[in-house]
Symmetry: C2
Subunit: 187 residues, 2 copies
DNA sequence: TATATGCTGTACTGATCAGTACAAATCACG
DNA sequence: CGTGATTTGTACTGATCAGTACAGCATATA
């Protein structure tokens, strides 16, 4: 009875949405089973180490998406402005203009962080480093590039928290707009 | 056998720390019982509606603390600069210079938000409103005050997320420093 | 059409969950 | 010293949890 869902990879988007909605602890295998359309048998066939392995796969998928769609462009683009511009567009798309939370940030806030420490740190460090590099190439001093990169990622994460808290996605789009302006203006 | 712990209020700080550490769903009554020193009997005596009522009490306590230590000064201070300065000091103290997460923000990120929707919104709206008021009195235009208040709260929340993600509290103190500078400089 | 492989559903395990019931213990107050 | 309200520990409930075991089905290859 091979492949109702052909690949383990096909389950990952649904897994991500479940973890985003309920957190790691709150995501029961029953819910996961329903949302992925995979029975327990299949789930443990694809993810022998259970829920932890599912979450790791999702975190890896998130990081890979950002690597391919954000970090690589920040690092490679001839014109650093284009890389940064692309980042804001990709981020806006990825977080559904403020209607979707950051899974990595959400995992970081409670003791779930301790289970996925390395992956969480990797995600944010890779982002910080790529953005810092782009800003330096844009003419920022080392110090200034580091500070500004941190400021931008801080604002994106905070805007996601506040948008969800107030149930007002525009908090997020306003924050992105401010950041774009902040970059193009001096400093 | 009245009062081993004299007041329901005495349990709230410990409750807050448990919820901060494990989230709402992850906080088991066993853990809560150990950390507060109260058996199940006592817990359900003080909080007849169980875990939900405990979390509500903690959220109310947080909001009251901010009302008394942050919002009131923002609204009442003769010199708005003093109110804002006091806010930064209080926030730095409250979040232990980046080593403590925001419980309200943490609750907002997953489906826990839906259980405490009103309280979460109240907390952030009260903060936004008080800060906007102070900025207007400091001479900011309506538009500018609203935008800047949102920017500050976004940055504080994001800095808490990123500090915990990278396990580097200085992310938070750097963000506060930037915000102070941002306020005192023009814009 | 046989066989091996890979996928799936179902039934189960023991642990833990939130919440309840209640009797015993303690103190305030008379 | 006794009575009554308040606080507490303990034992219990039924539900749900993550994870396991395994039989059986479907398909690809031969």
């Amino acid at each position: 009875m091979p492949r109702k869902i052909a690949e383990r990879q096909d389950a990952i988007p649904a897994l991500g949405e479940v973890f985003r909605e309920y957190g790691f602890l709150g995501s029961s295998l029953t819910e996961i089973s329903q949302r992925t359309g995979l029975g327990k048998g299949s789930l443990y066939h694809f993810f022998p180490n259970g829920k932890k392995e599912m979450a790791e796969a999702v975190l890896d998928d998130v990081t890979n998406w950002f690597r391919d769609n954000v970090f690589s462009t920040l690092l490679s683009s001839n014109k650093p402005e284009d890389g940064i511009q692309n980042m804001f567009e990709a981020v806006d798309r990825y977080f559904h203009s403020g209607k979707r939370v950051c899974l990595v940030g959400a995992f970081a806030l409670d003791d779930t962080r301790d289970r996925f420490e390395a992956r969480i740190r990797t995600y944010f460090c890779a982002w910080t480093d790529a953005l810092t590099t782009a800003l330096k190439r844009k003419g920022f001093s080392d110090q200034d590039a580091t500070e500004t990169a941190e400021e931008i990622i801080v604002s994106i994460q905070g805007a996601l928290v506040l948008a969800r808290s107030k149930q007002d996605p525009q908090v997020f789009t306003r924050a992105l707009k401010r950041l774009r302006r902040h970059i193009t203006a001096g400093s």
